[in-house]
């Protein structure tokens, strides 16, 4: 069953640049999908449309049954509650503790205190940061901060986790640790879409990989088929 369905999606900016051209894409529930491609190929625009940070100029985007293109600004929160987003720069609240940062995602939903506590502790345990719950983001390493961001993104059990270059600021070893966490989350049933520049990671994991160039899908590697050579041939 498809979690995401994009049909005829186009995104043009006011300055005349078209970032995405007539794009069709289907992503099944539970898949792990990499989106790769050169800088400016439209990777970020594509995922920004998924969590409705950007609105498509034309076409349909259905995420978990919601027509994202038709969603009004005031209703965007409905979509955001169904998915989690992780960024390269973590986007944590610097003046809140690790626990508060993660709990925040549940507090905005109005969850009871006990439920919040149970879920936050569980998810911090999952990302291996239970012992740092009372620390502030600036007391953590980059990898730890990213794990807090992941914990926050998944704490309300979203069906979809969108990751925009989550390892972009991290060294190789830390990146692989983050990937392990993401794979673990994927195994639990969460669909993951990850934009990355890091072909090492893509190559190591061999998940479904979509190669974008100039706003078009130029290659869609099924799981297990990704290789450097294939990219070179396409380019």
């Amino acid at each position: 069953m498809d979690l995401i369905r994009m049909k005829g999606v186009k995104k043009s900016y006011k300055n005349g640049v078209t970032a995405i051209h007539n794009l069709d894409l289907r992503i099944k529930k539970g898949q792990f999908v990499f989106i790769i491609g050169p800088t400016g190929c439209g990777k970020s625009t594509l995922i920004k449309m998924l969590y409705r940070e950007e609105k498509p100029t034309a076409g349909h985007i259905i995420v978990g049954g919601l027509d994202v293109a038709k969603l009004r600004n005031s209703r965007v929160f409905k979509l955001r509650r169904k998915l989690g987003v992780v960024f390269q720069d973590f986007k944590l609240l610097p003046k809140s503790t690790v626990y508060e940062n993660v709990a925040f995602a549940l507090e905005v939903l109005g969850a009871p205190k006990d439920e919040i506590h149970a879920k936050v502790v569980k998810v911090l345990d999952l990302v291996g940061l239970k012992h740092k719950a009372k620390q502030y983001p600036n007391q953590l390493s980059g990898g730890e901060q990213q794990r807090v961001a992941i914990a926050r993104a998944i704490v309300n059990g979203p069906k979809l986790l969108i990751c925009d270059e989550p390892t972009g600021n991290l060294d190789e070893g830390t990146s692989m640790e983050i990937m392990k966490v993401l794979v673990e989350i994927n195994k639990m049933g969460t669909t993951i879409i990850m934009v990355t520049h890091d072909t090492e990671i893509v190559s190591a994991l061999k998940k479904r990989t979509i190669l974008l160039d100039s706003g078009r899908i130029v290659k869609d590697f099924e799981e297990g088929t990704f290789s450097y050579e294939a990219i070179k041939n396409v380019r």
Partner: protein, 299 residues
Amino acid sequence: MKLLRMLGRNIRDSFKSVFRNFALSLASISCITITLIVVSISIILSINVNNFASLVEKDVTIVAFLDTQITEEQKTVVEETIKSLDNIDSYEFTSKKDITEEMMDSSETFKNIMANWSEEENPIQDTYQVKVKEIEKIGKTAKEIEGIKGVSVVKYGEGMVEQLVVVFDTVRKICIGMVIALILVTAFLISNTIKITIVARKREIDIMRLVGASNINIKIPFIFEGLFLGALGSIIPIIATVIGYDTLFEHFDGQLFSPFIQLVNPNPFTFYVSLILLIIGILVGMFGSWRAVRKHMKI
């Protein structure tokens, strides 16, 4: 239940936020403090000017002189008629006998002259001193009294009273205008300061949006924060108003330069001014936050 829980959380978070962003909060609080002190001074000034004007207006009296040959029955009719008029606040009768005695007491010369007058020769007339409710209508009331049978002459300081009314009216309007203008300027200044502090927290708002906070979820903590900033900012102006005005009142013994200019009693006056300052602080703080956060609501 869920609403109450979220409201409680919003209040807690906004309170925390005031202290976590202390430097920014301090900027807003100082701005609120300074402008509210100016507002307080202008309110105190304008209320005192207004009070002074009202006291002077209250003192304006219509004096109705009765015919010298008036009978007791006619006097009763005059009194009844005056009583029945619309604009009458109070009236007092002074008989010519009282006036004569008063004048005789006041000076030896008067005493010598008046002592020789018989009842019929006495040119002094019985009078009614009438105070009006609305000074603007004093001319009309004076005319009505003049029209009563048995009333010979009516005096109320014609010309001067009308001028006084115009002057006081203008002063009042200027005072009200000043207070309103000051409150508007304050609202603008404070809301801009809060706006700057919230722009600095755009990232926080973005994160709130990202994790699925609805617009109202995002706005409410900031609006409460504005409320706290406003309330905190009004503490010093309130203390300054209460202590300052009390000291001023004590120092001048309740009157400025002469007994003619009475100051408004601090109790309960300063209490009301404090309440007004607190309300202005809170409303303006909330308005400023709401205005600032609204800017970040759209994608």
